[in-house]
């Protein structure tokens, strides 16, 4: 391969999408040609330019402007932050991993990845625990956000989330905590805590979010808990109807 041929394959080489033969040829050329090598080094060095994370006000402002937008246009907007946070975890993990893998040479990649994963896991746990104790609701929301990437299902993170679920004064934080805890619903402790929290919640929004989660489990206790709610005349009207709907849907 010569310089001109590399030119047309450079982008694919950087993306790791050349076939094996072309890749070897490209590597041979790169070894012998300092000009082309300097281009590759520049491309690789780009990775070292840092970019910060957005501040917590970004999410808060987004919610504010969404509210304004929906008020000014049509009344269909309901802000439901809880379920909104649920899916980013996996995507983020894969994204970060892929980014690092792409940056490493392939042989090194696997080892680096394993070490990186452990390090990230520890960091996330620490971040979650620290953010959840902060004064600002946006920080605590961010903490719950980070917890979405914590894999371990029974440990300090779950405990901190359960505390947020029952005790956080901010309804958005509690809503987010519902989904964060529900992520661990394979764990009986998490399921029990969510069901118990139902009676402690003052906001019907949070109660509905918990009930929606319960509706997805096969836990036999769900039916009896929902029946109790539906039959209790002191239950809030919205909650009672929602319990009935869920019971009908699930044919308990």
């Amino acid at each position: 391969m010569n310089c001109q041929e590399l030119e047309t394959r450079f982008a694919d080489y950087c993306a790791g999408s050349l076939n094996a033969a072309d890749e070897t040829a490209a590597e041979l050329h790169l070894m012998s040609c300092p000009n082309c090598r300097s281009l590759l080094e520049t491309w690789r060095l780009l990775e070292s330019i840092p970019a910060p994370e957005p501040g917590p006000s970004l999410r808060a402002n987004f919610r504010k402007s969404m509210d304004q937008f929906s008020k000014s246009s049509r009344p269909v907007w309901h802000w439901t932050p809880a379920w909104g946070l649920a899916f980013i975890a996996a995507a983020l993990l894969i994204g970060i991993a892929g980014y690092w893998l792409g940056a490493q040479s392939r042989s090194q990649g696997q080892h680096e990845m394993a070490a990186l994963r452990t390090e990230l896991a520890d960091m996330r746990q620490m971040m979650t625990l620290s953010l959840l104790t902060r004064q600002s609701p946006a920080d605590r929301l961010h903490g719950i956000d980070v917890s979405m990437q914590v894999v371990e299902s029974d440990g300090p993170v779950l405990d901190a989330l359960l505390q947020a679920l029952d005790q956080d004064p901010n309804v958005n934080v509690r809503l987010a905590a519902v989904d964060a805890v529900a992520r661990f619903s394979a764990n009986a402790k998490a399921r029990r805590a969510l069901m118990n929290s139902l009676q402690k919640q003052s906001s019907p929004l949070v109660q509905v979010a918990i009930m929606d989660q319960m509706g997805q489990w096969t836990d036999p206790e769900v039916a009896s808990r929902l029946k109790n709610l539906a039959d209790d005349s002191s239950t809030d009207e919205i909650i009672r109807r929602h319990a009935e709907t869920l019971l009908r849907k699930a044919r308990y």
């Binding site: 047309t8 450079f10 982008a11 060095l45 501040g55 006000s57 987004f62 969404m66 899916f87």
Partner: protein
């Protein structure tokens, strides 16, 4: 429970279920922020631009076409928002203490400083590139996009994207080399 695709969510938003935008925001606002930050080097302005993109997604939701990759559509909007926003005076530059006091730094940390100096010079070289080349590099190097997706964003052939990546790196390497040697433009 399967996570809905970006495209399904955007179709729902288009058809009036505006709350689904919250999930798209959660998925994409960080990457979008870094995209703008790498373009502008300004935290506040980048956050404003992210906000603007999601507002435009709402406003122009009826123009979203089925089966068009959502991220490509989002970056199209992002590029337009960036183009339309009047450039402001740059915020205070990052801390440059390392450069002013480099001669008095103990040898042990010199390597590290050398490295951060390289990074700083490269950052400046990137900032000197013409807008289009800078965007091609940022999209291809940092945003986790395939060349196919970038070709949709830039509305050109995939091979054109690849050529532009090469040319942009080439120019970047030249500017970087010039800055390393301390030559004027």
């Amino acid at each position: 429970m399967n996570a809905p695709s970006n495209e399904d969510l955007m179709l729902a938003v288009r058809d009036g279920n505006l709350s689904r935008l919250a999930l798209l925001f959660e998925r994409h606002h960080r990457a979008l922020f870094r995209f703008f930050y790498r373009l502008t080097q300004q935290q506040g302005r980048s956050e404003d631009l992210v906000q603007e993109v999601f507002l435009r997604i709402l406003k122009y939701r009826h123009t979203y076409r089925e089966a068009f990759p959502f991220t490509a559509w989002m970056y199209q909007i992002a590029r337009n928002a960036f183009r339309d926003a009047a450039p402001k005076a740059p915020e205070e530059p990052l801390d440059r203490a390392a450069f002013h006091s480099a001669s008095r730094i103990p040898a042990a940390v010199e390597d590290q400083i050398h490295e951060s100096q390289q990074t700083e010079l490269l950052r400046r070289a990137l900032a000197e590139l013409p807008e289009e080349k800078r965007q091609v590099l940022i999209l291809s190097r940092y945003q986790g996009l395939s060349y196919e997706e970038i070709s949709l964003i830039l509305d050109c052939e995939v091979n054109t994207v690849k050529t532009r990546v090469f040319r942009s790196v080439k120019l970047l390497a030249q500017v970087y080399q010039r800055l390393l040697e301390g030559r004027p433009a």
